[in-house]
Amino acid sequence: ALDPHIDKETMTIHHTKHHNTYVTNLNKAIEGSALAEKSVDELVADLNAVPEDIRTAVRNNGGGHANHSLFWTLLSPNGGGEPTGELAEEIKSTFGSFDQFKEKFAAAAAGRFGSGWAWLVVNNGKLEITSTPNQDSPLSEGKTPVLGLDVWEHAYYLNYQNRRPDYISAFWNVVNWDEVARLYSEAK
C-alpha cells in the first residue's frame, strides 16, 4: 500500500519479523514480573524502574516495540502533502518553514550513524528534531515523539540499498500528517 515509496516485501518483513521479534523478546524479559502490567511506553519512559539484569533487554526490545508501534500509525497510502493548522504553524515558527523542517529532519536521519531513528518530538512544549541510536526511544529522555523515521538498514535496504537519502525523500510521500497533528496536540 505504501509502494513505491516503501515496498511491500519490506513492510511485511519489517512488521512480521523485526517488530514481532522485539515483542517476543520483550515478553520473555518481563514475563512474570510486575513490569508486565505496564504499557510499553510506560516501560521505556522509566528504564530506571526496570531491574538492572533485564534493563538492556527492555531498553532494546521495549524500545523496538514502542518505536515500531508508533511508526506504523504514522504511515499511510493517503499520506504525504503538508501538515495544516496548529502543527503547521508551530513547524513554521520553530524551523522557519516546512521545507527547512524537512531539511533538518532529513539531516538527522541521514546523519544517524549505524542503526537508529530520526524524530520530531515535543520537549517541554516545544518541537525539536533529534535522533536516537539503536531502538532507544525519546520517551526515555522525557520527550514525546510525534513523527519518527526508522533508519535501521532493514527499513529500507531491499528497495534502496545504501541510498538512505532516497528513502528519506520518499518517506515524505507517506507521512500521515493527521496522526502527527493529533499526537502533537496531545503532547504539547
Binding site: K17, N60, G114, Q135, W152, E153, Q161
Partner: protein, 202 residues
C-alpha cells in the same frame, strides 16, 4: 594543483572477486557491500580530508582510528573493519583451522564446535550495527571473542590483536538472508579464511 607524493594514506583493499564468497554471500551482496558501503566510507573520508582536514591524507586507517573520534573515526574504522572482513573470508581453502590456531581454539573454548557456537551466537545477539571479532590478547596471547558496535574497532584497545571478523551490520546479510541473521552467522563458517586467521596469530 601540485601533485602530492603521499607517504601513506587511508586506504581500502582492491575489490575481492564477486564470486569469492558464494554460496554464503551472493555476488550481488559482495558488489553492493564493496562498491557502495565500503567504497562509500573511503569517498566520504577523502572528501572530508580534502576540504577540511588535509592532515588526514598523511594518515593510515590505523593512525586515524587511534587519534580521531566522530566522523573521521567512523569512516576510517569502517575502512579497517571492512578490509579485515574481506580478508577473513574465502570460498576456497580449508573448512577448519589447523595447527596452532586449532589448538588454541580448543584450549580457550573447549572445542571447535563450542567456539563456533559462541561466536555465531554473538553475531546473532548483537543488537543494532556492529562486528564480532576473534582477537588475541597481546599480553597473554589468549584468544577471545569481542563485539564492537557501529564502527567500533578492537585496535583502539592497545592490548587486542584481531584474528578474524564477521560484519553484523544488516547491509552485510540483508540481500541474502533478510532478517535471518542467525542463518547468516551459521553459514559464515563455510567461507572463513583459516589461513588468514592463522597468519594473524602473534
Amino acid at each position: 594543483m601540485m601533485k602530492r607524493t603521499l607517504v601513506r594514506c587511508f586506504s581500502m583493499i582492491p575489490q575481492p572477486p564477486l564470486d569469492g564468497f558464494t554460496p554464503v554471500l551472493s555476488e550481488e551482496t559482495v558488489s553492493f557491500h564493496y562498491t557502495k558501503h565500503h567504497t562509500g566510507y573511503y569517498n566520504k573520508l577523502k572528501a572530508f580530508a580534502e576540504t577540511e582536514r588535509p592532515d588526514l591524507l598523511d594518515k593510515s586507517n590505523e593512525d586515524i582510528i587511534k587519534t580521531e573520534t566522530g566522523f573521521a573515526f567512523n569512516q576510517a574504522a569502517q575502512l579497517y573493519n571492512h578490509d579485515f572482513y574481506w580478508n577473513s573470508m574465502s570460498n576456497k581453502g580449508a573448512d577448519a583451522p589447523s595447527g596452532e590456531l586449532a589448538a588454541k581454539i580448543v584450549v580457550e573454548f573447549g572445542s571447535f564446535e563450542e567456539f563456533k557456537k559462541a561466536f555465531q551466537g554473538q553475531v546473532g545477539a548483537h543488537f543494532g550495527s556492529g562486528w564480532v571479532w576473534l582477537v588475541q590478547e597481546k599480553d597473554t596471547k589468549k584468544l577471545k571473542i569481542v563485539q564492537t558496535h557501529d564502527a567500533g574497532c578492537p585496535i583502539t584497545d592497545d592490548n587486542l590483536h584481531p584474528i578474524l571478523t564477521c560484519d553484523a551490520w544488516e547491509h552485510a546479510f540483508y540481500i541474502d538472508y533478510r532478517n535471518d541473521k542467525p542463518k547468516y552467522a551459521e553459514n559464515w563458517w563455510n567461507i572463513v579464511n583459516w589461513e588468514f586467521a592463522a597468519s594473524n596469530l602473534l
